[in-house]
Amino acid sequence: MNETSTQIISAFVDNEPVDPDGLAAVLEDPASRAMLIDFVRLRQEVAGPDVPLPRSLARLRSRQAVARLPIVRWSAAAALLVLVFLAGWMSPRPLLSSDDTAVSAPPQPARVEKFVPGVDWSFR
C-alpha cells in the first residue's frame, strides 16, 4: 500500500471526488480495506455521542445585549455607591446630634459648695 492508495481512501472518506477505477484498484488490497474501515471507525469515535445542545445556545444573543453589558455593570456599581453614601448619611450619629449646644453645654450643678475662709477643712 503506497502513499497514493492511502490518499485515495482518505479522499473517499472525506466525500471528495476520487477516480472510481483507482478506488476499485486500491480496495482490492485487504490492507487498504482495513484502512478504510479504520478511518470510518475513527470518524465515529471522534464524533462521539450526540451531546445535547446547551440551553445557552437555544437562541442567538443580541449584539446590543452584549454591548450593553459593560454599561449595565457600571450603572449598577454607581447605583451601589450612591446607596452606600445615602445609607451613611441617614444613619444615626450619636456624637453629632442636631442639637450641638446640648452636647457642648455643661450640666447644671446639683449642689453648690461655698468656700468660707478660716474653716478647718481637715476636720472630720
Binding site: S10, F39, V46, V51, L53, P54, L60, R63
Partner: protein, 152 residues
C-alpha cells in the same frame, strides 16, 4: 450582516460549531461562550472566506478558539468533558482518542476536527484556515495515519 441572515446561520451551524469548539478546546463552557460569540461577531461582519457561509462562520470560530488558547497560554487540557462523556459506548476508547488527538500538532488537529465535526469540504477548510486545498488534503491524511497508528 443582517440579523435574520445570522439567525439562519445560527440555526444551521450552531451545533457543528459548538461540537468543533468543544472538542478543539476540550472545554464545554468555553465552547458555549465562543459559539455565541462567533455568531454575534457575524452580526457585525461581512462575508469572507470566499463567500462561503459555513467556511466563514467556522473561520470566525477557529479564530476565537485560537485567541482563547493564546489567552490561556497553554495547550488544551485533557480533562473529562463532563457528564455527557459518560454516554460514550466505550469510555476507554474515548480517552484513547483524546490522548491520541492531544499528540497531534494543533494545526493538524484543527483541520481534522473541522472536517470530522464541522463537515467542511477541503475548499471550505482551506478558506477558513487560510491554506490551499492540497495542504488540507495532506494534513488530513497525515493526521488520520498518525491517529490510526496510535489507536491500533
Amino acid at each position: 450582516m443582517h440579523r435574520s441572515e445570522v439567525e439562519l446561520l445560527f440555526a444551521t451551524y450552531r451545533e457543528p460549531v459548538y461540537r468543533f469548539l468543544r472538542r478543539f478546546l476540550h472545554d464545554g463552557p468555553a465552547a458555549e461562550d465562543l459559539t455565541q460569540e462567533a455568531f454575534v461577531r457575524a452580526l457585525g461582519g461581512s462575508w469572507q472566506a470566499g463567500g462561503q457561509a459555513r467556511a466563514w462562520i467556522f473561520q470566525i470560530a477557529r479564530n476565537l478558539a485560537r485567541d482563547h488558547l493564546r489567552a490561556q497560554a497553554r495547550r488544551p487540557v485533557l480533562s473529562p468533558l463532563g457528564e455527557h462523556e459518560s454516554r460514550l459506548r466505550d469510555p476507554a476508547t474515548a480517552l484513547a482518542v483524546d490522548a491520541a488527538l492531544a499528540t497531534v500538532d494543533v494545526d493538524d488537529r484543527e483541520v481534522f476536527l473541522l472536517k470530522e465535526l464541522g463537515g467542511l469540504t477541503y475548499a471550505e477548510i482551506a478558506a477558513a484556515c487560510g491554506m490551499t486545498p492540497d495542504a488540507v488534503r495532506s494534513r488530513l491524511h497525515r493526521t488520520r495515519l498518525a491517529l490510526r497508528r496510535q489507536l491500533t
